[in-house]
Assembly symmetry: C2
Homo-oligomer: 212 residues x 2
């Protein structure tokens, strides 16, 4: 046995403990067929920090390499599964909880899930982390500073929040709790999109989730 | 152009309308890599009819063929995403709605989803069907008769429902609305498990979802 590397490298295929009964097919069988491990890459950061754009660029890179990757973000969640939820603290908590549970199912199916949600509360993110085995959850803090996000303001939301037209707006009228020890930190105002995407892919390789 | 066969065969890859914005990767690119189409196979029927067992046998057959299939059932939903829901009519409705939305996300990611829920109300099942493009939703009525299900009673639930210990028990104290025109009907008291599984796989092949 080699020593366990820092950062939670996933054990060899077939050696993991599964979290629930899988019936006749194990995730290991799926992963053998897919040629990569399944994982949840959780991007957290302010509105306008570049989470969704980055997630979709990483998705593209992974699919080009033949991996099965899929982005969960507001576009496909808020209109469907979470259409019944608002933006107050309790609704945000339930939003993050459901996304975490969907990510868990998809990871169980063999997918590399890239989730892109503000997910401002540390406790909620840690609740999602607890759903996954060690090394399967990769928290990426998209730490683009507030002033840059506000200058970008792609949907005009910051301007409206400053005018008081949007309540509970993260960074303006609601808190953002930065991750204490994320697996990776990227700032899309410091590095360009492809450089940030490359760093996410390298983080997956370094954890043994993806073949280098 | 060949005429459209009955039963909603899926159009050639690249010709489908997508239901929402996918960013940089289309489902067609995923499907080309996976070598099969994505679909939602929705098994509906009474408790004890054999839905979950059948779903898991089909999953095994598909994964053995190199397809990415995944079962959604009470085991992995009721303990996670839907842990907050009970069994009354409204909770059942919300349960089915969420499963449908999760299936939609997984199908979007390229997976053949096999869902195994009693889903007793026709309107709720039709609501799920409406989430999918024509030909991507395959409703399978597991029509094993009530008396057989009750004789099997694998979890002792029918006995408890007859004693009045369980409220809203489908087939005893709550209705089951049989599908009017399912894509397939199987009765696990008439055919053995492997024969039923083979019929589901054939139905996928016949619809162009899976290579024969």
């Amino acid at each position: 046995m080699s020593p366990k590397p820092a950062g939670g490298t996933v054990p060899p295929m077939g050696a993991t403990n599964v979290t629930w009964h899988h019936g006749e097919v194990s995730r290991e069988e799926r992963e053998r067929a897919l040629g990569h491990r399944a994982a949840c890459v959780w991007l957290t950061g302010l509105s306008g920090s570049g989470k969704s754009t980055l997630a979709r660029r990483v998705e593209k890179r992974l699919v080009e390499r033949g991996a099965l990757a899929y982005v969960l973000d507001g576009d496909n969640l808020r209109h469907g599964l979470n259409a019944d939820l608002g933006f107050g603290p309790e609704a945000r908590k339930e939003n993050v909880r459901r996304v975490g549970e969907v990510a868990r199912l998809m990871v169980d199916a063999g997918v590399i899930v890239l989730s892109a949600f503000i997910s401002p509360y540390r406790a909620d993110r840690d609740g999602v982390r607890a759903l996954f085995e060690d090394g399967r959850f990769v928290e990426v803090w998209v730490s683009t500073p507030l002033e840059v996000c506000e200058r970008r303001d792609p949907k005009g939301l910051y301007a409206r929040a400053r005018k008081g037209e949007i309540a509970d707006f993260t960074g303006i009228s609601a808190p953002y709790e930065a991750p204490a020890s994320p697996e990776l930190e990227v700032d899309t105002s410091q590095d360009d999109l492809d450089a940030c995407a490359a760093r996410v892919v390298e983080a997956l390789e370094a954890r043994g989730l993806l073949r280098a």
